[in-house]
Amino acid sequence: MSNFQEFTKGLWKKNPILVLALGLCPTLAVTTSISNALWMTLAATFVLVCSNIFVSLVKNFVPSHIRIPIFITIIASFVTIVELTLKGFQPEVYKSLGIFIPLIVVNCIILGRAEEFASKNGVAASILDGLGMGLGFGVALFILAFFRESLGANKLFGLMLIPGMEPSSAMILAPGAFITISMMLWVMNVINSRKG
């Protein structure tokens, strides 16, 4: 695979949310607003790229039977960096994402990429893989948040959409998240089946 493909596979062919179905828990939980989704993407992508770099760097020294604790240590370190930085410089964001920032540690996308890709490939390819996966994660989150915020809160980017309209609160709660993501999967499968 060329380097460019390493980057783009995260967007469609191996989209972490829609194809690999990894990391659904934070996905469904934080997509109540677009700003939450964007900050979550930023945080997760930062951790993903950094952990990919370091996992790729240490892959030759690490005995395979202790690789998981080592990957987790690396991931947890970067998550803590993100957590402290957000707490210090973006307290509002930190507050609204709440528990889902520390939970990036157990986000399957990040450990999954460390195990499946970074521990077998070079640093450059791992960075591209991390960026692509992060972008794919972000796009899926953005679409979910767009529908949930506009229909569930009558807002976009925190600004009111139609004055006086009563939003449907089901969309902001868990059922709305499941309905939206199933619609997205449906559209994606329809497109894929037409192509193939």
Binding site: T73, T80, K87, L161
Partner: protein
């Protein structure tokens, strides 16, 4: 045996490096985190005790809970005879739909609410989280077409605004009248009531419940030596 030793050493080295790095990140961010929290407290105090000169933060143990409080002073009255008025601000909390809703309350000596400010809440976005929503007339499409937010617009969230003037010595009632607007103030004051957030009665009830605790706090703080001074 050597295999175990080797693994342990590698794991040890990696955790050491990571702990070393994190301790430095902590050192950089910690002062900023503390500053942010102080800043937030200051802003909330200015909101709940408007115009008061606020004293130092103190702590008191009330019903086994550590309650931080502040005493504020203000000069009131006409030019001829000025008198010092005291206000009390404290932090109170009650479980909402998410976690505890933590709010700061400002009271005068008679138990009238001067203002409240919700400090921490994890309520459902779009429902309970509207307790910190500022009623803005600016819409998304308006923003795109270059409209600007009205500078004169009241920046206090409407849910918190409606508590001003209520008394905690009586029970605060919760009515379901929809979103609050300034036109409802008179009617609600008469009833000593607030209008609940639509679809989030639990949130509204939690805030009221935490305020009802305030009566105990008020009595206790009134009896502290520094608050007693003006009883002379």
């Amino acid at each position: 045996m050597t295999n175990i030793g080797k693994s342990a050493i590698i794991l040890g080295i990696i955790t050491f490096i990571s702990a070393f790095l994190l301790s430095h990140v902590m050192r950089i961010t910690y002062p900023e985190i503390v500053r942010q929290e102080k800043e937030k407290e200051k802003r909330a105090l200015a909101l709940v005790l408007p115009g008061y000169k606020i004293g130092e933060k103190k702590k008191m143990n009330i019903n086994g809970k550590e309650t931080p409080y502040w005493i504020g002073e203000k000069e009131q009255g006409k030019d001829g005879k000025k008198e010092k008025v005291r206000g009390i601000a404290f932090i109170t909390a009650s479980p909402g739909y998410g976690e505890d809703i933590k709010s700061m309350v400002g009271l005068d000596r008679n138990g009238t609410i001067l203002g409240i400010s919700i400090l921490e809440q994890l309520e459902t976005p779009g429902l309970g989280a509207r307790c910190i929503e500022v009623a803005s007339k600016l819409t998304f499409f308006g923003f795109i077409f270059g409209e600007k937010a009205d500078e004169e617009e009241n920046q206090t969230p409407w849910f918190q605004e409606q508590f001003r003037g209520l008394s905690i010595t009586k029970k605060i009632k919760i009515l379901k009248k929809g979103d609050w607007n300034p036109g409802m103030r008179k009617e609600l004051l008469k009833e000593n009531a607030i209008s609940a957030i639509t679809g989030a009665t639990i949130t509204s009830r939690a805030v009221v419940k935490s305020l009802n605790r305030g009566i105990v706090v008020l009595e206790k703080i009134k009896n502290t030596p520094e608050a007693k001074e003006d009883n002379k």
